[in-house]
Each structure stands twice: as structure tokens, then as C-alpha cells.
Assembly symmetry: C2
């Protein structure tokens, strides 16, 4: 699946993914009034509204981009009818040759992760018949439970030619609370006791470790202090390096999520995970700029796909598009916003 | 909602939660054959099978226990019909006065977590009408994204008298990969530079920090080395201490998940989170024993609720119940297994 994503990016020259996260407040009143009149003020109506809005957006942008990223929470909150709209959206995007990244952030202990992997990327059996439930092309995965929670997703990627993006450093303001914690990591070949002896012999005080010692020197001492997200990134790189998961493009089915809001960390993580595509949220509404995106890309202009949700699907509410397109022109405004985003990224990559 | 859970535990003398995680392989052939004959081999049939199985289990055990914990992944894998069975199960459990803990492990950036919180604990608007989508009483939450991902759940707990259990130390074998990492934590009042100076002045080598220094001494130096799960536990304690979220029982709507498979860590975390109930998975099939559960409880016999899924709902497959109950007696076997689990826990608590 990663090869299809790479082809799509090359074909459209757009390393862009449109986030289909339709909050009700983003949706024009004309749609809402029409559907509520027809269906009553029901959850079914809410689902239908999400679907009609998405369809118009998809029709307007599908030739410009390789991929979309529906955020399941926005559908799940409307219960079964909401999830029907999620399913219908996925199905329609695929009929338009868009790659679908289900932003589901699932993750659990092994047997349960296997069920999530089946739900979103794989198949289930009903008696002797096989079905795919939601059947996204990629999905996002939460790594907090460790390898045995991720393994079932890796297996499905292999079996079904699908891909995943694992949360490494998220775009939100509090992401550092746990993800940036400095972890004392043993390094090198020595065992724990030997490492401690070495550290003591060389009078490695904490000040030196934290402040004055560069990474190479830390390694010699047998310990390094590293933020948690780097460790997670290294695990991603390990999972991604399985030759069965590497496509003809040289990229792996196992990618990572790193927020545009943390470009310095993106630079480090780009190096740590050479085979992984990085899904970059946080551009636009969350504060990430075109220039911030440069470190996430490789020199070939590949290796990253940038998501924008609100900035595209609710573009018609922004001053720069509002006057030209108005509320009824929300889909055309989304199209214009995709073109502007593409220009912004190309300019930044040419400069950077 | 925490007060209702405490009342339920007192009334049944059972700090027990039955995990409704019906894997197809747990379900007797008689149910599967009957339903597949009626509905064909469809996802609808799969959903109906989960539901019929659950209903029989619920009817058999509902007077013995205060709470159930349906694992959404097991339903989600069957798509919309599976999620309909999840909804129906929740609704039926509530009609039987069981408290429902939705094991959904959701967590995302702020605005998205708000949608998840609405989906599982809160309400949404369709026009001017309010609906509750899945309407569990509690749900589980993944903390990897930090405070702004948890905050929307806390708000819904306050608004709707609901509760959450936040993943702190999970029961699976790989849980230590990230959760046990030793984190260098500044402590005390001094600022970072001052702490480093102090550490250097006292020749605090790493060996001393890691091996020879006890926690009190570490604190004096301005740094401690702590596993990540303790940090997460401390955040849980902070979130839980909001007086608006503390019930008449003295416990908070904000609880934690800590696996029975790690009783030593449970002991530490029990102290770190005095106001939080601990939801303890991993008993039985995953290897946790009655004795392992003791450290999770407070002296009043409260403070923890122990989950068993496979050990109860698939009890009829275990030697000790198979002969007596047979496949058709799966619900009675579940009832017997609940009674045995209750006895096991009471014996352990009396000893411990």
C-alpha cells in the first residue's frame, strides 16, 4: 500500500492528505437545514449530513490529492448512524481512487489489537465467509502498550498489503508531557553492571550527562538520556525494517505520526526512521507552517504526507476564501485551499 | 458514577467485573449454527451471535456482580452490525442495573478526544435535540497524548456524572517497553540549573543515582529516576483530586488501569493514586492470581475492581467446568466461575 501512496503523491505532486473530520460547526447551514427537514433531528440525519458534506468535498478535491484521513471520532460520536457515514465515506473515497488513512489511534493488548487490526485493515470470518468491516488502506496506531499491541497490525499489513502510522510525537500542546520525558537508556554492548562501573570510573556526574556531554560521548559511557519519542521512533524503525513490509519505493508499510508543530523533533525523527513515511498533522489550524514541514521530507521530496483538516474542509469560513466562495461554495473553497497548500509546501521545499 | 460502583460492590460483595469480549471461538456452536442458518453467513449474523451469547451470560451473572466491561474491538471487527451488538449489550446491561465500563482505550488531541468523550460518555446534538450515542457509565482512556487529550473526558465526567479508567500500567507482556522506562524527573523546588549544580556539587555519579541512592536522597539532589508508569500515575492522581470529581464514597470518578500481572507495581500505584479506583485486568487467563490482587485493594476492601473475561465467559471450555456444564451450559458455567472468582478474591484478601 505504501507504494500506492508514493505513486499517488508523485502523480499529483501533492504530499497532501485532506482530513475528513467534519465537526457540525464546519458544515454549512443549507445542508443541515435540508437534511434535518427531511429526516427530523435524529442521529440518522446527523450521519447523512456528515456524508453529504464529505461527498461534496471529496468530489471537489479528489483529482488534486492522493489521500484522505477521516477521523473516526467525529463519526463515532453520532453512534451507529455516524459510523455508517464513516463507512460510506471510506467506500466512496476508494471508488475515487483515493487512499484512505483511518485516523483511529487504536491500540490494546495482543488479542484485542488483533480485533482492531481486523476491523480497520483486515478481514473477519462470519462462518465460512470472509468480510472486511471498515477496510481502510492505512490506519493510525497508539504504541503505549508496546510491541505485542503493535504486532497484530504488522501482521495484517503483511497479509493484506496495508499500512500503519504509529503515534510517535503528536501535534497537540500537551504531547510533551509523557512523550518528551527524558529516559535513561543503556547503550552499547556492556551489561548493566559494567555500564554503571564505566560511568562511575569516568566520574560521570549528572551535570555532564545532561548538559555537557554530546551524544557520542554519552554512548561511550554506556548510558544516554533520550526523550521517550526517540525510543518510540526507534521501535518504529525496527518494525519498519522488516523486508516483507518494504515496498518497491524503498519505503515501509510502517510509518509514523509526527506533528508539524515540532519541526526540530521532526528532523531527528526523520533520521531515526529512514524507511518510514511520516504522516504530519498540525499544519494550518494547529499552527504548523510550510517552512516547518521541510525537515519531515527526504531530499527526494518524499517521505512525508501532510494532513490538513479544518484548513481545507472549513476553508470557506476563513477570510481569504469567504468573500470569493461564500457558504454555498464550501467545496470550491476547499479545492482552492488544497491548491494553496500545495503551493505553500512546494515553495517551502524549494527554499529548504 | 463511582459511588454507584462502590454501592454495587458493597451490595454484591464482589469487586468483580465480567469482561464481555466474545471472541467467536468462545461461542458455542449451537448458537452459531442456529443464527447462521437464520441470517446466512453475514456480518449481521455475527453481530446477532455476539448479542445472543452476551444476553445469556448477562442473565446468568447479573445478580452476582456490579459491573461488566465490554471490549469494543471484539464488536468493531464486525463493522456496523458488530457495533449494533455493542450498543444493544450496553443497553441491556443497564436495564439489568449493571454498571457498564466501555473498554475503548480512546485518546486523541483535544477536539478529537472531546468527540470520543461525547461518543462514549456524553451527548451530541442533532439540531436542537440531544442524543447519547453509546452511553457507557465508564470508559477506558489512553494517556499517551497528555493532559489536553484527557481533559475532555474529565469535563464529561463532571457534566454527566460518569467516570474513566486511565491506562497506567497495562497487563500485557510488552507493557514495560515504554511504560517502565526510567525517566529522569526533576524534583523539589530548585530550578533546573540549580538542580544540576547541586547534583554536581555532591558528586552524584550515575552509579549512585541508579543503584545506591534511595528515593528520599534522590529528592534532595533535585532529581529522581522513576518509571514512566509512576509519572502517569501521578498525573492520574492529580486529575482525580479535583473535588468536583470526588464522590461521597471518597473515591474519584478518575480511576486507573493497572494489570494484575504486575502486583509490585500495583502496590506502588495504589499509594500514588489514593483517590482512584483501580480497574485490574489480567486475572485468570493472563496469569494473575488471587494473591496478586491484594496490593491493588485498600484496607477497606475497596479501591479495586478486578476484571475477568475469558475466565468467565469461556469457563465452559475449562476442564473444571466442562464436564459438569457442557457446551450448552456455558451460561451456568460462567455463573459458577464468577462464584469461584469471588471466593478466590475473598480468600486472598482475608489472608493478605
Amino acid at each position: 500500500m505504501i507504494d500506492q501512496l508514493v505513486q499517488g503523491i508523485k502523480k499529483t505532486s501533492a504530499p497532501i492528505c485532506v482530513g475528513l473530520d467534519p465537526q457540525m460547526s464546519f458544515i454549512p447551514d443549507t445542508i443541515k437545514v435540508r437534511v434535518f427537514n427531511e429526516y427530523g433531528e435524529t442521529l440518522e440525519a446527523a450521519g447523512e449530513i456528515l456524508w453529504q458534506f464529505n461527498k461534496a468535498i471529496i468530489d471537489a478535491v479528489c483529482d488534486l490529492i492522493p489521500a484522505v484521513k477521516p477521523q473516526v471520532a467525529m463519526y463515532e460520536q453520532f453512534g451507529i448512524p455516524g459510523l455508517q457515514a464513516f463507512w460510506k465515506t471510506i467506500d466512496y473515497c476508494k471508488s475515487k481512487n483515493l487512499i484512505v488513512i483511518g485516523d483511529v489511534k487504536r491500540g490494546d493488548i495482543g488479542s484485542t489489537s488483533a480485533a482492531y487490526a481486523a476491523a480497520h485493515l483486515g478481514r473477519v470470518m462470519a462462518g465460512d465467509r470472509e468480510y472486511a468491516a471498515f477496510d481502510e488502506d492505512f490506519c493510525t496506531v497508539n504504541p503505549y502498550l508496546g510491541t505485542d499491541g503493535v504486532q497484530p497490525f504488522l501482521k495484517v499489513c503483511d497479509d493484506e498489503d496495508k499500512g500503519i502510522f504509529i503515534l510517535v510525537k503528536t501535534s497537540n500542546p500537551s504531547s510533551g508531557e509523557f512523550q518528551d520525558q527524558l529516559v535513561l537508556v543503556p547503550s552499547g554492548e556492556a551489561d548493566a553492571a559494567e555500564r554503571l562501573r564505566l560511568a562511575e570510573d569516568r566520574e560521570m556526574t549528572l551535570r555532564r550527562l545532561v548538559k555537557d556531554m554530546d551524544k557520542e560521548e554519552q554512548k561511550k559511557f554506556g548510558f544516554t538520556l533520550r526523550p521517550l519519542y526517540e525510543l518510540v521512533g526507534e521501535k518504529v524503525a525496527e518494525w519498519a525494517s522488516n523486508p516483507r513490509l518494504i515496498g518497491e519505493s524503498g519505503y515501509s508499510e510502517v510509518g509514523a505520526v509526527v506533528g508539524a508543530t515540532y519541526p526540530e523533533m521532526g528532523k531527528t525523527l526523520r533520521k531515526i526512521m529512514p524507511k518510514s513515511f511520516i504522516l504530519v498533522p498540525g499544519y494550518g489550524a494547529q499552527g504548523g507552517t510550510g517552512d516547518d514541514l521541510v525537515p519531515f521530507f527526504n531530499k527526494d521530496g518524499l517521505g512525508a504526507i501532510v494532513n490538513s483538516s479544518r484548513g481545507i474542509i472549513a476553508a470557506y469560513k476563513k477570510e481569504e476564501y469567504a468573500e470569493k466562495f461564500g457558504e454555498d461554495g464550501f467545496a470550491d473553497a476547499a479545492r482552492a485551499a488544497v491548491k494553496d497548500m500545495k503551493k505553500d509546501i512546494h515553495q517551502a521545499l524549494e527554499k529548504g
